[in-house]
Amino acid sequence: MRVITKLRPLINERLQIAENAVTTRQKVGEQAAIAILLRHNVLTVINEIRQVVGAMQADERGLLKIRMNRHSESSQKLQMLIYCGSATAMIFLFIASILIHQDIRIRQHVEQELRESQTRLQRQADELLTANKELESFSYSVSHDLRAPLRGIEGFSQLILEQYKDRFDETAQGYFDRISAAARRMGILIDEILDLSRITRLPLQMQDVDLAALARGIAEDLQKADPARHVEWTIPTTLPVQGDMTLLNVALTNLLSNAWKFTGKRADAKIELGTMLKDGNIVYFVRDNGAGFDMAYVNKLFQAFQRLHSPAEFPGVGIGLATVQRVVHRHGGRVWAEGVVNRGAVFYFTLI
């Protein structure tokens, strides 16, 4: 700036001289113009100007040098910055790759486990299918092969009794009777087992079912089979549910026949089909005022072939409640019972 302020009057002076010279040259002539230029010592002014410009150039060079230095400093910084940035990026990349690697390993592990559990499941499904087929062929052979010899046992002991009765005393005849009775009973047992296994095997056919209508039909059949008995039935007008009609009919038949059977020794027999609410769910029940049972044995009640009464007291093979339980379980429900000896029993069940 300083140099420029010095330069401006010099240039102005030089321009003034030149102007004068030009004017003089036009007005007076070339000699007069040259005289003006010499008088004003033009060369000195030019030299001064040169010096000033030289100083400016020197200044400029200095500044350029400083700028160059600054530039190189900043580019070094930039380089450092780039290095640091790259290093950070590398670290991040490294961490990311480790994380990805870990993620891949976890994923592979999970996939491996998934595959294994799938294989396991498939194997279990295959085993189940095989077991089911075996069960089916087992029940088939029970139905066919185990039942056939019973006919021989029963038939030929009966034939002995019929054709050779006079050769045996009463005790021996009684024994033959017992052989054929046992064979007949076993035949019934086999049939019951088959019915029970069928209830498990057959696919459910869900539909609208009126439990009350089913119950009235069953009650009518029971009453017809034993018209001398008087039982007070309480059945609601309608009791709509969703379920498999055949299976629900089997279950209800078992429950109502049981109630009918175990109230057989009461003159004022009462059997009721009803509903109640428990924890927001509808619970269906069959209540009777018959022989009841001891709650100590409640756990045995629903097991196949477990009986709480002797066949002499109340006939039966002990499969009815096991059947009821299967039907209810197949409907996703629960079944339980309460009883008091000689006061009656209540069988509760839910259906979902």
């Binding site: 092969d145 030929f156 009966q158």
Partner: protein
């Protein structure tokens, strides 16, 4: 034409054979009963071949009592062969078996059985089944014309 027709009993269980014959006898069903003990022998009898080649194939039994669970060739296979052949397809076949499996019953009717009877365990009911069976298929039923 009035020749008394025979019955064919296809049964592998010797007890069941004896009980069946005894009950037929008790119920005065006097027709001759031919007994074969397995499915292959049953086919030989029905198509008059093998040890039965002297038989006249058109001499159909009044009814064939066919067990299902048989050695060599099953009852359902025997039934299928009978129904497939035009010479024998009208012969009455009654499935007489211990099984009450639904697939057996369905398979028998699908295969063209005329009736399905489950053999009862107790002799009294077995005898009653034979009595009705004999009465119906031997006396009451109008035999099919020859194909």
């Amino acid at each position: 034409m009035d020749k008394i027709k025979s019955l064919l009993l296809v049964e592998d269980n010797v007890d069941d054979v004896d009980l069946t014959l005894l009950c037929l006898n008790r119920n005065k069903i006097a027709n001759r009963v031919d007994v074969v003990r397995d499915g292959a022998d049953a086919l030989d009898y029905i198509f008059a071949r093998g040890r039965h080649e002297h038989r006249n194939i058109d001499d159909h039994p009044a009814v064939i009592l066919l067990d299902l669970n048989l050695p060599k060739v099953s009852g359902l296979e025997v039934l299928a062969a009978i129904r497939k052949d035009p010479r024998t397809r009208r012969v009455p076949v009654v499935i007489f078996t211990t099984s009450n499996e639904e697939r057996d019953i369905a398979g028998s009717y699908d295969g063209g059985a005329n009736s399905y009877i489950r053999k009862p365990v107790d002799l009294e009911r077995f005898n009653e089944a034979i009595r009705q069976l004999g009465l119906y298929w031997v006396l009451l039923n109008q035999e099919p014309p020859h194909a």
